[in-house]
Every structure is written in structure tokens, then in C-alpha cells.
Symmetry: C2
Subunit: 414 residues, 2 copies
């Protein structure tokens, strides 16, 4: 049997089956690269470079300060927020783009403490992306909350034990290392049973999972703009505040962009009645408008189709491994219900394996201690790419390329 | 006497005298525009558009996630911070670019409260740019400080009265409406007499006043990147933490970019020993690298020469007013010791006058309630520009152009 030819045929068939969500032509991807790190930095969409050039040369250079009005800069934070909201099941007026995910989490923790006076507990995923742990702890310390680190699978039970002492939970849709999905709907239901508030971290799910913030009764959500949303390096973050909470959302980082009348230059802070109250100072407009342009890559692509293509890509990649002689433990659940848009494999020399893959043009990333993390951004990754990645991985391992000195040497950033 | 010809000659002579700091050729300015709003949004420096295109197309598009290492993205926050530090008298290692001015002020207030336990007072300029009032208040409320709003001229006396209850002062170099300078050195000396800490807001002074943070014993400073530093709309802000305070600076918005080992993905926060500890989440790199490129406009220009040119520009503009028939109250001190890089005039219909000037290509801005604010960025504004602005202002007033309906109608952002 010609395994390789069979897999090529299977990849083509799957790409045809999931063509509804494949938009590789909307991205500028370098020749010879299989890009499986869109969950760290999304690829560059077509048109973003042109839009950024227009922002810099025409809007800033020619329009100068007039562009705050004339080029629609001022309302961009809300406008882009609503566009992201549409990808995560949020009706307009509840999502705004501002600051970093870290800063937005800070605001949510402080605001939640004030919305649930007397309650002292905040629960956070013990295996969360570390910045969540850091900032939830630093914010909690300031507002008098006590942080409990609880694994998501144990969260509903622990929430019910904590009962009316629970102020807030902060959980991500998935484990960023393994891609295992959590049931945020279930956690949120438990939180609401005891009268608490629930914040969803969508950094690894916005634009790739079928998220329904409004329907699933999320109270708050945060997420970054630079992973699957493809907004560019360090693109500003978004924050969602459920409409019914807006008037109670007291932003602890009160800045003039969140004021009801920012140009009134009033001495006292009167928060905007809109989601603008979650803003602080002036947003980095070039980065924000790059993110806006990038979101055009999602035009006309149903989130459900993206999710289906993502599941197919990750399943297919794993299916390719054994026929290609790759026998590594898969850290990612193979039950689609429990799998995000990535496949993580374990290897004792995971760092070097990732470097060897990069040298072959297959870009994934390494996560401590032993994770080879491969993200499948369904908009621009194809099943043919998945097959190619598996083939390269087989070649790296069979050729012991991960033992070469150039691959074992650690760079400053990985 | 031909007044107009005399003034033209005087402008030329002054431009020649202050040529050392004039670098208009380093900026892209639209034809027919006299730009006097660089204290709101700095003009576009030559080369920034090209650098931004390179960042987007080559570094993001081709380099993808590898550019965090290969293109020097990761250390950019510190690198650009040091470059700004050089403009405000800060030795390397104390200044970092991150977040907005609002968020950086928040960090400083919270950190200062912890560095001066038991002290309860923070003094802030009563006429401060409003965001300072808002965020100092919101931060103080969280950390148990009480805010007192005290005019800068009364600050030293009040500081001595407050004595050992003083934790922090937050003062800007100048009044953002009138351009009146304050003696931050004197305020800082009083603060240190009572054992407190002093934060300088340099939004309106970085890149245009001769600031000496290290020599004048400032403890902290913040400032934005988009005014005289010309970093582009909403360019990220900088924060300075004096070297001796670094190890005590506890950032309340603890994020992974501030960790000693950000890629260790450790569960507990261990702050970086460097100024990186003032960072939070990932910075908006396109905006940050645009700021870096923009700072090249300062290359080889001594800050003292900029200050001299700035003083000459503002003095000359005022000198032109009477000969051109403009008789408006000047809100800005004419004593150079007390004047920032702007001239503010009062007029009951200031908003409409500013609109009429903009219609003539002279871009300044309006500040409540009656201020026509004209900023003179010495790098790219000439004495000939100052004369042209005065001539246009004379024509607006003599022609009652500010009474035309198109100039009295308020836009959403002014």
C-alpha cells in the first residue's frame, strides 16, 4: 500500500469537504512554510499592509489630529469590539478593544469585587496561562479577595462548596498547552447558582471555537487580538461586559477614554454609560486599525464551519502520525468535544524537536516542560499542510535532527 | 513701515539663529498646513511609513512568530524606553515603553502606596489633565490613599504641612491648557524633605523641555509617546522608575511580560529585576516600533537647542500678534522660565476660532472653556510658520470667520 499517496488523497478530500471555512487566499504566507503557530501569533491577512500604510501615510501624515474625527479613529475601539463580539456570540455594545488581556483581567477582578461586596473568593484555573494567575493574584490582593487555584474539572463542585462567598471565577476555554477544552457553560451555571460572576478567557478560542457569550450567560470575557484573530504582534485585547452589568462595572483604571464626555475635560470621573467605560487611555491606533483590517479575513465564514474544519484538521494530523512512523504521546484529547484547535505532542526533547521543525519550515512552538504545540488556524491551514507537518515531524525524528547542536541551543524567546 | 516685510525678515533671521534644532525635512507635512497641534498628535516623521511597512510585511508576514527573537521585538520595550530616557535625562535601564499613560499612572500610585506604608496622602495638581485626576483617584481608592488636589504653586507648602503622611505627588511639567510651567524640582525637593515620592507627568514635556529626571531626583515619571515624541496616534506610553526604587516597585497589574522568566510559564509571579517589571501584557508592536522609528527624528539634536528654539518660536508668535492686529489675552506666561512649548489665547468663541483656523490650514486645538491652544513643536515648526499662523488668526478675526455656521458647529471630537 502506498501510505503517502493515500494520505495525500485523504487530505485533498478533507480540504474539499471543509472548503467553506478555508480562506488561505486571504493570507500572506511565506513560501515553503507550514504555519502552525497561529495560536501564538496569527498570520498576516491580505490587505492589512495596505490598510496600515493608509493609516500611517494618509490618516496620520495628511489628516493629522483631524483624523480622530474624520477617519473614524475615535469610535474604532467600540467598532472593532463589536466585530469581535460577533465572532464570540456577543450582541453589539458589550465588547470593546482596549489595553492588553492582562490589564483587562485586572479591571474585571476589581470590578467584580465591587459588584459582589462581602464575598471573598475568586477561583482561577490552576493550570491557566500564567499571566492570568499573576494578574488575578495581584488584583485580588488589592481588592481583598482570596485566590483559589482549582482545576476546571473540579471547579463546579468547589464553586458549590464555596457558595455565597464566591465573587468571581476566571477560566479559559481550554488548557493552552494541551488544547483540552473545558465546559465554561457548566462552570458558569454553577457560578450563577451561588450568585457569583464568571469571566471567560477567550485568548485561545476567539475566532476558532463556537463561543456563545450571550447565550451561555457569561458575565465577562477577555481575549487577545493577535492569536486566531490575526491582529498582528501585540494587537490590543478585547473585553466583554454583559449588558446588564454595564452600569455596575466600575473600571479601577479610570481614564479619560472611559469618561462619558472625554472632551469635556471635567475634573471628576463620570463613566461612560456604554462599554467605553472599560477603556483607559488612548489606544494604539495603528495596531488597533491593523486588527480591524485583519478581521476582514473572517467575512462570510460561519464560526460553525471554522469549528468543523478545525476539528477535522487536528483529527487528520493525528491520523497521519502512525502511518508516518511518528509514535509520540498525544497530550490533546481525541474526543472532539474536548479538543481546541491544536495538537500537542510530548517529547523529552520537545524544544529541540520544535527547532528542528522550524528549520524545515514547520513553525509550531514549545511549551514547558515537554510539549510540542501545533496550532491549526482553520482559516489558512489546510489538511495538506497538516500532512506535510506530520511528514516533516517523521523526518526530524527518524533523522535525529533534534539532536543537532543548532536545535538544542535555546534562544531568548521560544 | 512695512510691518509684514519686517516680520518676514525677523522670522528668517530667527530660523537661521535656531537652525540647530530645526529638522522639518525629517517630517512629512501636508502642503499648505501650519501644524500647531504636535502637543496633541505629533506629525509623521520621514521613514516611519517605510519602517511600519517592513514590520508588517517582512517581520510579521514573513518572519511570523520568529520575529519575537529574530527581529528584536522582545527587547523593544526596553530599547525604546532607553531612547526616550535619553531625551528626559534618564540613564539606561529605568525607562520602559508599555501600556497607556493612564495605566502607568495607576501602577505608580499603587506601587508608591506599598513603598510608603502607613502614609495616606497623595497630592495631585487640581488643574491636571483630567485623566491624571481620574486614575489617581481610582487607584488611590483601591490602595487606601486619600487624594488632595492642590495647585502646583501651593504644593511645596502643602507638602510640608502634610509631612510624614505624604506618600506621593503627581504633577505635570505644565498646565496643558495655558502652557504654564511648574517647578517640579522644587516640588520634588519638598516631597523628599518629608520622605515621600514624586511622580512627574511628562506628556507635554518629553522631547521639548529640558528635563533631567536623574539629576532632579524624580522617583517616577510617565508620559505618552504620541505628542512631541511623534510616535503616532495612541503610541504606547513610557514609565520611568528610578534605579534605586526598582527592586521595591511592585506592579499591581502583574503580567507575564513583567516576569523575570516570561517563557518559563511559571505559576507564581517573580518580577523581573529590571524595568521590565513595569510591563504587563504584550505591547502593541506595530505602534511601538512606529514610535521607535519616529524617535530617529531627534537624532543629533540637543535637547537644549530644542528648548531654545521652542522659546524663540512661542515668543516670536506673540510678538507678531499686535502688529497684525490681533488683540487677544495671552494665557501663556511670557517669562520664558515659566513657558512650555505652546501659546494659548483666550477668546469667548475659541472653538469657532480654532475651526476657522483649521479651515485655513492652521491646525491648533480648542480646550474648554475659551482656550485657543497652539503648540510649537520645535523640530518641525518654523518661525515662518509662526508668522503665518498669526497672519491667519488676524484674518479670521478681522473677517469674523469664526461667526460662520460651519465653524460654530461642534464635531464629536475636538
Amino acid at each position: 500500500m502506498d501510505t503517502s499517496r493515500d494520505l495525500v488523497g485523504a487530505a485533498a478530500a478533507r480540504d474539499a469537504e471543509h472548503a467553506a471555512a478555508g480562506r488561505a487566499e486571504r493570507f500572506v504566507l511565506p513560501e515553503g512554510v507550514v504555519y502552525l503557530d497561529g495560536n501564538s501569533l496569527g498570520a498576516l491577512p491580505v490587505g492589512v499592509a495596505e490598510r496600515v500604510a493608509q493609516v500611517v501615510t494618509a490618516e496620520w501624515g495628511e489628516g493629522l489630529v483631524r483624523s480622530w474625527n474624520d477617519a473614524g479613529w475615535w469610535p474604532a475601539a467600540e467598532r472593532v469590539g463589536d466585530r469581535i463580539g460577533a465572532l464570540v456570540g456577543a450582541a453589539p455594545g458589550q465588547t470593546v478593544v482596549t489595553d492588553s488581556t492582562t490589564t483587562n483581567l485586572f479591571k474585571v477582578v476589581a470590578a467584580a469585587a465591587r459588584m459582589r461586596p462581602g464575598r471573598t473568593r475568586v477561583l482561577v484555573d490552576a493550570d491557566s496561562f500564567p499571566t492570568d494567575l499573576y494578574v488575578v493574584s495581584s488584583a485580588a490582593a488589592l481588592v481583598g479577595l482570596t485566590v483559589e487555584r482549582v482545576h476546571p474539572t473540579g471547579a463546579p463542585a468547589r464553586i458549590r462548596e464555596v457558595g455565597d462567598d464566591l465573587a468571581l471565577t476566571v477560566y479559559s476555554s481550554l488548557d493552552y498547552r494541551t488544547g483540552e477544552l473545558w465546559d465554561l457553560g457548566e462552570i458558569t451555571r454553577a457560578v450563577h447558582e451561588v450568585g457569583g460572576l464568571s469571566c471567560w478567557d477567550l485568548c485561545h478560542s476567539a475566532g476558532v471555537l463556537d463561543v456563545h457569550l450571550d447565550d451561555d450567560d457569561a458575565d465577562f470575557a477577555v481575549g487577545c487580538g493577535y492569536k486566531y484573530l490575526n491582529g498582528g504582534p501585540g494587537a490590543p485585547s478585547f473585553v466583554y461586559v454583559r449588558r446588564e452589568h454595564l452600569e455596575h462595572f466600575h473600571n479601577p483604571v479610570a481614564g479619560w477614554n472611559g469618561h462619558a464626555r472625554p472632551f469635556g475635560m471635567e475634573r471628576d470621573y463620570d463613566p461612560s454609560p456604554t462599554i467605553n467605560r472599560a477603556r483607559t487611555g488612548t489606544s494604539p491606533m495603528i495596531s488597533l486599525l491593523a486588527l480591524e483590517a485583519a478581521l476582514g479575513a473572517y467575512d462570510g465564514v460561519p464560526v460553525a464551519a471554522l469549528r468543523a474544519r478545525s476539528l477535522s484538521l487536528t483529527a487528520f494530523f493525528v491520523e497521519c502520525l502512525a502511518p508516518l512512523g511518528v509514535d509520540l504521546p498525544v497530550a490533546t484529547p481525541m474526543d472532539g468535544e474536548c479538543r481546541g484547535s491544536q495538537v500537542s505532542l510530548r517529547h523529552p526533547d520537545a524544544y529541540a524537536v520544535v527547532q528542528a521543525l522550524i528549520a524545515r519550515g514547520v513553525i509550531g512552538d514549545f511549551r514547558e516542560p515537554d510539549i510540542i504545540r501545533l496550532g491549526f488556524a482553520p482559516l489558512y491551514v489546510s489538511h495538506a499542510d497538516a500532512l506535510a507537518a506530520a511528514e516533516h515531524l517523521g523526518a526530524v525524528l527518524s533523522g535525529a535532527e533534534h539532536e543537532r547542536p543548532e536545535n538544542t541551543r535555546r534562544a531568548t524567546v521560544t
